[in-house]
């Protein structure tokens, strides 16, 4: 489903010298597989997730999604892939402060041209399932951290992506809310056959993963 070969990322350091944060990573994740990525701070976990999710360009290497080499597509085509095939859950939720909870979820449908009525019905069902439907008209600042992450999760899976990327999604949550989010991520592999790549420090998340990958100094070990 997801395949990365020779994935590297280098950027200019403070004095112009190149700094390589990811060294030729090879990775394959099957549909329905739940993979956890662990490693110390600065080991390149978030960078790996950004490259897999087409959120920034790789310095070298390729990313394949199914039969499509998505890393080498044009900007417009990559935008289409991001919107239709990849869902993101971030540690800091990244909800838009000017939109209500429901509108934040529906934002995912807007850019892929989905029918708004249908998308709204699904968004409400997702909010209901996550226990935050009663908060649909609230703005992010009016929600707790746990509620914001549930809303963010709804947004990530609204378009039924084949790949869900979660970067420390439980980092700012208490145990109870973390448990809900992890269970839902797990469910998306089981119910929809999506591939999930999770960057985490939580032992229970690693324990529930199909595979655990360890990154050290930008290399898989």
């Amino acid at each position: 489903m997801l395949r990365a070969t020779g994935l590297s990322k280098t950027h200019a350091g403070p004095h112009g010298a190149p700094v390589t944060v990811l060294h030729g990573v090879d990775l394959e994740v099957k549909g329905g597989e739940f993979v956890a990525v662990v490693g110390a701070s600065g080991s390149g976990k978030s960078t790996l997730l950004n490259l897999l999710g087409l959120l920034e360009p790789a310095s070298a290497g390729e990313v394949w999604l199914g039969e499509e080499r998505v890393s080498h597509l044009g900007r417009r085509a990559q935008a289409r892939v991001r919107g239709a095939s990849i869902g993101y859950v971030f540690q800091s939720f990244l909800l838009l402060s000017g939109l209500t909870a429901l509108d934040n979820v529906l934002l995912a449908a807007r850019y892929v041209g989905r029918d708004r009525t249908l998308a709204q019905r699904e968004a409400l069902a997702l909010l209901e399932r996550m226990g935050v439907a009663h908060r649909k008209d609230h703005y992010p600042a009016q929600l707790s951290g746990g509620e914001q992450q549930r809303v963010a999760y709804c947004r990530a899976v609204l378009n039924r992506p084949t790949l869900v990327l979660a970067d420390e999604p439980t980092g700012n949550l208490d145990d109870e809310h973390a448990r809900v989010i992890l269970a839902e991520l797990r469910a998306s592999t089981a119910e929809r056959g999506a591939a999930v790549v999770l960057v985490t420090h939580r032992p229970e998340a690693q324990a529930g993963a199909d595979r655990v990958l360890r990154l050290r100094d930008g290399r898989l070990v």
Partner: protein
């Protein structure tokens, strides 16, 4: 409030206020420039609409033509020159003889008009009466006052006014012309001749001893031309045909007027440029800053599949709406301040601001165009970043 939110994107209130302040600065400076421009243009229109003549010599009159007395015989000779459509005898004199000549641009004048002849000025066929009525042929001791003249003395139609120690009934008030007639007191020419005789002892002696008649007491005359005539050529023809005249050539007078107001024109240009610079920079800076503040939102939207074009359309639409609201609020703010200031200075017969339709239209179009351009520029700058970088920078 709910309806307002449909039009003003959430989080843009301070942007709208920022734009409003910039546009208000632009409109205020522009309104002052418009006021001065209208004064200069009005004078130019007036001198280009007639040929002004006076008798030969230095004379003692005031107004547009300097010269000696213009006798009735001379007026008849002028009227007989081919191409002349009409000649209106006039008596123009300063209201206040001790100060008026020092401030020729703003002097208050008493203007006596021969009402038996239609006004020959092609650009002012009749002066606009805002209240009351115009002067009639059989009026005596009646006056129609310019708007500033009346406002500075709190006079309305039906009141009376003292001119040169004589009481006149105010029968009408002119509408605002933003040029010289705003400071005129128009009276029948016979009344003006009376005032002149009372105020100038030397003239009384000459008038009493010589062969002059009342009809010869004219400081000048306005001459009109027939359709198809070249006014400058006709003015030269009058000069060569009728001896003993000071004739102004409309084209030359217009050029002289423009030369004498060159300082004001330069000042206007400076005010306009300053207004555009201050207003434009303020507006562009506010919109650009507002878009850059949303850099994180752009990263999130791109992560959710927004294309460059989709984001550009979205931001341009928002920029357009925000600029429209900001521009409209700025125009309203400037208009409120200008009106309040004018309400105060109008008591002295002054007006500092002129909010003309062309100025307001320009201000709105300017704010819309610049706001949209600034929003587009900022968006294109942000789109250079990867979604991850945009999210990082905005967090």
């Amino acid at each position: 409030m709910v309806r307002l939110r449909e039009f003003v994107p959430r989080g843009y209130v301070f942007t709208v206020v920022g734009i409003a302040v910039g546009v208000a600065g632009l409109v205020s400076l522009g309104a002052m420039a418009e006021r001065i421009t209208r004064f200069i243009e009005g004078g130019d229109r007036f001198v280009l609409g007639q040929i002004s003549v006076a008798g030969e010599g230095m004379g003692m009159g005031a107004g547009f033509t300097a010269g000696g007395l213009l006798s009735a015989a001379k007026i008849r000779e002028i009227a007989a020159v081919p191409g002349v459509s009409g000649v209106q005898a006039q008596v123009m004199m300063p209201l206040n003889t001790s100060t008026s000549n020092f401030m020729t641009l703003t002097q208050e004048l008493v203007m006596g008009m021969d009402l038996s002849v239609p006004i020959p000025n092609r650009n002012y066929r009749e002066l606009p009466v805002a209240s009351g009525r115009p002067l009639r042929l059989d009026d005596r001791r009646a006056a129609v006052l310019g708007s500033d003249f009346a406002a500075s003395r709190h006079l309305r139609a039906g009141a009376s006014v003292s001119l040169g120690g004589q009481d006149f009934a105010v029968v009408g008030i002119l509408g605002k012309t933003f040029t010289a007639p705003d400071r005129f007191a128009l009276v029948p020419i016979e009344d003006a001749r009376d005032l002149w005789l009372r105020r100038d002892p030397l003239l009384v002696q000459v008038f009493g001893a010589g062969n002059l008649r009342r009809g010869d007491l004219n400081t000048g005359a306005a001459v009109g031309w027939r359709d198809g005539e070249d006014p400058d050529a006709l003015a030269r023809r009058i000069q060569s045909t009728v001896a003993g005249l000071n004739v102004t050539i409309p084209g030359e007078l217009s050029r002289l007027l423009r030369q004498s107001t060159a300082f004001f024109s330069a000042l206007l240009f400076g005010i306009g440029a300053l207004g555009l610079l201050i207003g434009g920079l303020s507006l562009a800076n506010t919109v650009t800053a507002a878009v850059f503040e949303r850099i994180r939102d752009f990263g999130i939207k791109r992560a959710l599949g927004a294309t460059d074009m989709a984001l550009l359309r979205e931001v341009l639409g928002e920029g357009l709406r925000v600029s429209l609201w900001g521009g409209a609020a700025g125009v309203l703010l400037a208009w409120s301040i200008g009106t309040a200031v004018d309400a105060r200075v109008l008591r002295d017969g002054e007006q500092l601001f002129l909010f003309s339709p062309r100025l307001l239209t320009f201000a709105l179009v300017f704010s819309l165009a610049l706001g949209t351009l600034a929003a587009g520029y900022a968006t294109l700058r942000i789109l250079r970043l990867s979604p991850a970088e945009a999210i990082r920078r905005g967090s």
